[in-house]
Symmetry: C2
Subunit: 229 residues, 2 copies
Amino acid sequence: MNIRVNPWPNRPLFLLEGTLRVNDHTNDLRRSANVQWQHTAVSREERAHIKHQKPCVVWLTGLSGAGKSTIANCLERKLHALGRHTAVLDGDNVRHGLNRDLGFTEADRVENIRRIGEVAKLMADAGLIVITAFISPFRADRDLVRSLLPPEEFIEVYINTPLEECERRDTKGLYMKARAGEIPHFTGISSPYEVPLYPEITVETASVTADECAEKIVRYLRGLETIYS
Amino acid sequence: MNIRVNPWPNRPLFLLEGTLRVNDHTNDLRRSANVQWQHTAVSREERAHIKHQKPCVVWLTGLSGAGKSTIANCLERKLHALGRHTAVLDGDNVRHGLNRDLGFTEADRVENIRRIGEVAKLMADAGLIVITAFISPFRADRDLVRSLLPPEEFIEVYINTPLEECERRDTKGLYMKARAGEIPHFTGISSPYEVPLYPEITVETASVTADECAEKIVRYLRGLETIYS
C-alpha cells in the first residue's frame, strides 16, 4: 500500500501530485530528520499562489507590423497596474540573447519558437503571466507550445491586422525591402502566415486601439480567473 | 537640451534609464493621446518592486553529487516561506525541455550553460530570485553568465564537496560508470572541474547539512538586501 502524507494539510493532495519531485540527492544531505520537508521542491501552484494569480502564457501572433509588441507592452502595463506578476518575451529580449545563434532559415525559425515556448513554460511554472510577441506564422509551432502547457494556460491571441494595413504602416521599412526581394521568406509576402483556427481571442487593430485590444485580453483573463480579484 | 519627464515621481529617474523601451510600433496604434503612457514597457525594477525583492541569480556550481539540487530545493523552500518569488532551473526542467536538442559534446555543454544563463537573465528581468543547479565546470561559461547580469545580481555559490565524497555517495551510479569508461568527459574523472576563484559564497557539504548550506545563502541574500525585510 502506498501511503502519502500531505505536507500542506490545508491544500488538497491532488494539487501536489506530480509536482513533488523526489530528488536523488535527498538522502545524502539529510543529516537530521526534522528538516526533511524543506528538501521538497516548491510546486508551481505554490509559486503562483503567493502571486495571487494563475499562471498563463498569452501568445500574441500576427503579421510583422500588426501591433504585437505595442499590445504586449500595453497589456503588461495594465496587468502590472493590477498588481499582477508578468514577463514579456519579444524580439528585443530574445533575438539578441537566448536565440542569438539562430538565423531566419525555416529550421531556425522553428527552433526560435520552440525555445520561446519552453522559456514561457518555465516562466509559467514560476507563477508568472507571460506575454509573448512573435509573428509565429506556423500553426504547428504554436500548437507545440500549447502542448507544453496545462489546458487553459495557453491563450492564443490573433492580432488580426490586414496585410495592406501592416504594409501601409511599415514602421521598420521591412515590407518595402521584402517587396524589393531583399528579405527572403518574409511572412505575408514570400512566406505564408497561417491564421489561427481556434484562437482564444482575436483583436482587430485596424478598427480598435492598442489600449482597447489589451483591455479585451484583460477581460478574458478575468473571466478565466487568471486574475483573481 | 534633453528634458526627461519622470513618469514615476516617487522613484529616482536613474532607475528607469535604459529600461524605458521606445517601441517602434507606438505611433501606429496610438489613436488617442491620453493612453500614450500605457505603451511604455514595464521596467525590470517595477517587476521586482511589486515582489518586494531585488532580483538575482543564485548560481550553484559543483561536482555531480555535490548536493546542488538538494540545496537548490532547500533554498527555494526557505525563500518561499519568506514570501519570496523564486524559480529553479535544474537538469529536471531544462534537459528535457529547452535543451533537449543538446548532447554532451564540449560545444553542447557550453551552449547548455549559455542558454541557461540567458533564461536566468530573462527571469531576473521578471523580478525573480533564480536558483540554478548545474555542474557548470568551466569558469569561462560561468563568467559569461555573470557578464549578462548587473553587478551584485550574479551570486556564484561553490558547492564544495570533495570528489571522494561525491563518488562515495554516487546516488545515480554515474561515477561507477565513468570509472568503467562508460561515460566519456565525466566531470572530475575524465573532464576537469574548474573551482571558482572568487565565488560569492562557498558551502562545504561534507561538514554541514543542506539546510545549513541553504541558510548560509539566505543570510547572504539578506545582507545584499535582495530580501528586504
